[in-house]
């Protein structure tokens, strides 16, 4: 019902106004001025004032509340009307004349602004009337094959290595590459030479392999296997020669060794 800016004329000459449709009193004044159907520069300010006051009075009769700016404008226009009624030559009338032309100027400016807005609104708008490409192609290719290298980074890496080294104060010599049967024979002979009781097979293994076993290190698994095999072979060798005895109480149980007593022979 209340299209923006709509102004309906009822059967009577008084305009019936939907105040909601107006963006403030100036908007209404412009609409009233346009209704005079003359050049805005030559409108009758007196008539305009009367119409505005009539509209506001009517609106107040229907609804009590009316935004303050409407009332401020009404008060100002009432003042202007009183000035316009005075004889031409008085100072007050001159004031009125100035105020009238100010009002007329503002209406012209408002009219210009509204026609600018209308011009913009009539433009074909991107996304509404005209459309850009719906499927733009990305012609950028990101090449991540390169490496970003910097000397500070390299030095930080080196310092990190040095720090770690310094932190590990204890130097662990690398384990011998392979524990040979010869190595095992020497070690067994040395251990059994002193032993009078059964000795666990594990103690016969080279220390590095035993450590690796304790750490559960799989990297050194091969070395341990080699050492176990070599030690077992060496033990069997000594047993065959009658220099040692081997004992295993149950399958997969611990293997024990001891020096063979001369007397037991």
């Amino acid at each position: 019902m209340s299209a923006p800016g709509s102004l309906e004329r009822a059967a009577s000459t008084a305009p019936v106004l939907h105040l909601d449709g107006f963006d403030g009193p100036m908007d209404l004044l412009l609409e009233l001025a346009r209704a005079q159907k003359v050049d805005l520069a030559r409108i009758s300010i007196g008539a305009l004032v009367e119409q505005y006051l009539a509209v506001v009075a009517e609106a107040r009769a229907v609804r009590l509340e009316l935004a303050a700016d409407w009332l401020v404008m009404a008060a100002w226009l009432t003042w202007l009307k009183s000035r316009l009624l005075l004889p031409d030559d008085s100072e007050a009338a001159e004031e009125g004349g100035e105020a009238s032309s100010l009002l007329a100027e503002r209406l012209v400016a408002l009219e210009l602004m509204q026609s600018r807005a209308a011009w913009l609104a009539a433009r074909p708008q991107l996304g509404r009337d005209v459309h850009p490409r719906g499927l733009p192609e990305t012609l950028l290719q990101v090449d991540r094959s390169g490496l970003r290298l910097d000397l500070p980074g390299l030095l930080r890496g080196w310092v990190a290595v040095l720090r770690r080294q310094a932190a590990e104060r204890r130097y662990v010599p690398p384990a011998p590459a392979r524990w040979t049967v010869g190595d095992a024979l020497a070690k067994l002979a040395a251990m059994l030479g002193r032993a009078t009781t059964w000795i666990g097979f594990e103690l016969m293994l080279p220390s590095a392999a035993a450590e690796a076993d304790a750490r559960g290190s799989s990297a050194e698994g091969h070395e341990r296997s080699a050492a176990v095999a070599a030690t077992l072979l060496a033990g069997l060798e000594l047993a065959r020669d009658g220099a040692a005895e081997l004992r295993q109480d149950q399958p997969f149980g611990p293997i024990l060794l001891r020096r063979r007593e001369e007397a037991g022979r």
């Binding site: 963006d23 100036m26 908007d27 602004m113 600018r116 807005a117 708008q125 459309h131 192609e137």
Partner: protein
């Protein structure tokens, strides 16, 4: 294929691929030195003139767009954003012509207060932006239009906005 055709094809493809308007300089950079990019673009424009898709000058660059006269038929199939309310269009017009403008200046021209909703709407649509503050008491924010404003309304630059005389005739 001749050099000329090759240049036109290249410019065409580049402008077509981009979602945003491209400047003549950007096209020139692609075509390489010694090629008159402006005339190549003019050729592309001529080739597309009258078709369903046109090359138009917007926001200081060039962009392919659907022809404006097809709007009514396209709207039925392409989703369209909400229309801006009259108050927002008016505020936008004031800012476009008087930028940079403060809120008080905008309100003075319109003779109505500028609602937060209207401001939010224009900001969200990316049509206006703040441009620092005016060095007067209260240091109010100054508002100006964006490149998006030019793009959306199909303007090459602000001087494309019609002058007073051009509007009065129309509005008469």
């Amino acid at each position: 294929m001749s050099q000329i055709v090759e240049h036109r094809r290249l410019a065409e493809a580049m402008l077509f691929a981009a979602a945003e308007p491209l400047t003549t300089a950007a096209v020139a950079a692609l075509l390489g030195p010694g090629v008159d990019a402006a005339s190549v673009i003019a050729e592309v424009q001529a080739r597309y003139a009258g078709g369903g898709v046109e090359l138009v000058a917007v926001a200081g660059g060039w962009q392919f767009r659907t022809a404006a006269d097809l709007a009514p038929r396209l709207t039925r199939v392409i989703a369209q954003p909400r229309r801006l309310p009259r108050a927002a269009m008016e505020v936008l017009a004031v800012i476009a012509y008087q930028q940079p403008a403060t809120r008080a200046e905008i309100e003075a021209v319109r003779g109505a207060s500028l609602g937060q909703q209207t401001l939010d709407l224009l900001l969200e649509a990316g049509l206006i932006r703040s441009l620092g503050r005016k060095e007067v008491p209260g240091r109010p924010t100054l508002w100006a239009t964006t490149t998006e404003f030019l793009t959306r309304f199909g303007l090459n630059d602000l001087s494309d906005l019609p002058r007073r005389e051009e509007l009065i005739v129309e509005g008469g």
